[in-house]
């Protein structure tokens, strides 16, 4: 088990996995525009991108979290709680300009609570975020109950659903791209990014190398919460509806997209461009199936199966390769 023998293997596997996801995405796009009615229209393209946005947005920090070997299952509930609070504050007469930053701060606080439990109390992130998944969603219902708040200012809701110059590109895509570039540069070209990979590859080794792993993970959870809060604001504005059950189950799509994009659930491996390709592939599949009148709930079969395949396949590939190599050396 020398390190030299393993390294190139996973590097090439990763590269080929990224490439495969991109190729499959292009294939799905081509096949869907050829066979699915209305798929290729510019109107549908806009909807496709708008549906992708919350998944892509939340997937950015989730990539960091999963690369460090942790997970955050509470993001969809954070989204729901910020949406509910946004509706409640708007109902109470606060201005939208002060509500929106407040909601992002709220998301950051919720993320900080996750981070506190994971890094200070050293509890497994899986159990912590299952707990906060229930807690935050429950609090969302406590805040808003079954009600919906809908009368948000037109200026904002039309901008969020609007497109650049009336074309097919949504207004929101530009800020998302900027964010994606920032996250990508930080992950792949800065010491912070190196620390994230190091912490995921070996927590102990990273510690010995002088990385403050606990502090790093804590801030990743804060960012994850803040971005989920921002997603809650955008979700609310996009559907002009603040509801406690907004974004229910979104964590599945986000985790599925991240893993589909080649990030290892065991930490230490993954690329941000791969994740974005995963998001596009997942969104395209869902969109094409939805146009074929497959219900949202039945669509979850596809997402669930994709999630499993995206972890299963790399494992099988690695093991088969290892077996062949063993045979070759014997």
């Amino acid at each position: 088990m020398s390190d030299k023998g393993i390294r190139p293997a996973w590097l090439s596997r990763l590269a080929s996995w990224d490439a495969a996801v991109i190729v499959i995405t292009v294939l799905v796009l081509v096949i869907a525009s050829g066979t699915v009615e209305n798929f290729g229209t510019s109107r549908n393209f806009t909807f496709l991108l708008l549906d992708l946005l919350p998944i892509a947005l939340v997937a950015l920090p989730m990539t960091f979290v999963i690369v460090t070997g942790e997970i955050d299952l509470s993001v969809a509930s954070t989204l729901g709680l910020t949406s509910a609070v946004m509706g409640d504050l708007w109902d109470k007469g606060m201005t939208i300009e002060s509500i929106m930053p407040l909601c992002v701060v709220l998301g950051a606080v919720l993320g900080a609570l996750n981070g506190f439990f994971v890094t200070v109390l050293k509890l497994p992130s899986l159990a912590v975020t299952i707990g906060t998944l229930a807690l935050y969603r429950g609090l969302a219902f406590v805040v808003l109950g079954d009600n919906a708040v809908a009368d948000f200012p037109r200026d904002y809701t039309t901008w969020v659903t609007g497109t650049i110059g009336g074309g097919p590109i949504p207004n929101l895509l530009i800020p998302l791209m900027i964010l994606a570039v920032i996250f990508g540069v930080v992950l792949h070209a800065t010491p912070i990014g190196r620390a994230v990979f190091a912490a995921g590859a070996s927590d102990q080794a990273a510690r010995f190398a002088g990385i403050r792993v606990g502090r790093l993970k804590f801030w990743l959870y804060v960012v994850s919460g803040a971005v989920a809060g921002l997603a809650g604001v955008l979700w609310t504005l996009r559907y002009s509806s603040a509801r406690a059950d907004n974004g229910f189950g979104l964590e599945l799509a986000v985790v599925a997209a991240v893993l589909l994009g080649g990030v290892s659930i065991f930490g230490g491996k993954g690329t941000l461009p791969g994740v974005l390709a995963g998001v596009v592939l997942l969104g395209t599949l869902q969109n094409a199936l939805r146009l074929q009148d497959v219900s949202n709930e039945a669509l979850n079969i596809v997402t669930g199966v994709l999630l499993i395949i995206s972890v299963l396949l790399p494992n099988i590939v690695t093991r088969t390769r290892a077996r062949f190599r063993r045979r070759a050396t014997v």
């Binding site: 997970i71 497994p124 899986l126 229930a134 807690l135 406590v142 596809v302």
Partner: protein, 326 residues
Amino acid sequence: MFGTVFKARESGIVLALVVLIVFTATQNSRFLSGQSIRDILLGTAILAVLAVGQAVVMITRNIDLSVGSVLGLSAFTVGSLLRDNQGLPVIVALLAGLGVGAVCGLLNGVLVRFGQVPALVVTLGTLYAYRGVIYFWAGGQQINADKLPGSFLSFGHDSIAGVPWLVLIAVIVLVVAGIVLRNYRAGRELYAMGSSPQAAELAGIKVGRNTIAAFLVSGGLAGLAGVLFAARFGTIDAAAGNGYELNVVAAAVVGGVAVFGGSGTVWGAGLGALLLTVIGSALAVLDINQFWQQAIVGALILLAIGADRLVAVRVQRALKKRDSHV
């Protein structure tokens, strides 16, 4: 040392239960009426059966998030089976539910074992996949109580010697699982796997086979719970059991089953199920917003794992101190 830790947890829950019951009963005597107690017991029965399965899986350092969906799939299968075959005896319904659940659990176990995929990912995937299958199959249709045979519905409400059938089944499940885990080799192997998978492997325990078996048990029990759910409520749609997994994980964790594996008992999980059900019932009686229920479930999970952590740290410190004296 471990004995005291373990007892502290169980007596803690019992204490919480007593305080909660006494407080609620003084606020509203309706809480201790026969009907209310019956409702609590029936609710606990279903949750406890699920929690026993979850405890078995969690002891091996895995998790099964798909139980709510398996419950729904089993309930809908059994419901439509009985609707189309009115003469079927209850035992066939129970076996059918058990079978559906076992198949789902087997799939989870095989994916975890042979795919080397973490249980979290597999069961998060199948949580949505199984639920999707129900929606695909059921669509918007609902099976109503008047379409189900009378014998099945009375099974959900009737008692034998004063004990409701549902409660009797839950107690049997608890006792059998409790004895197997405590006294039999198969049970002890599960604890060994959870404490240290590598050590268990080296000790000759068939870790892979046992992992599959644990998921099979959890799936089968979730399927059984689906039949109990159908019998109790009579109305089944595609959303049956949606979100139950959170309550089930909470019941097990609150009952002292460690998320790190290797410790906990099904008795604790059963007590956890009782506590959660009593809280839900107390909220209704005390006229508190029902929406608090889910938030409390989440807070209890955090509280339980936090408390476990503190106890573990303390035990470790105590052991270190003792070693330094020697």
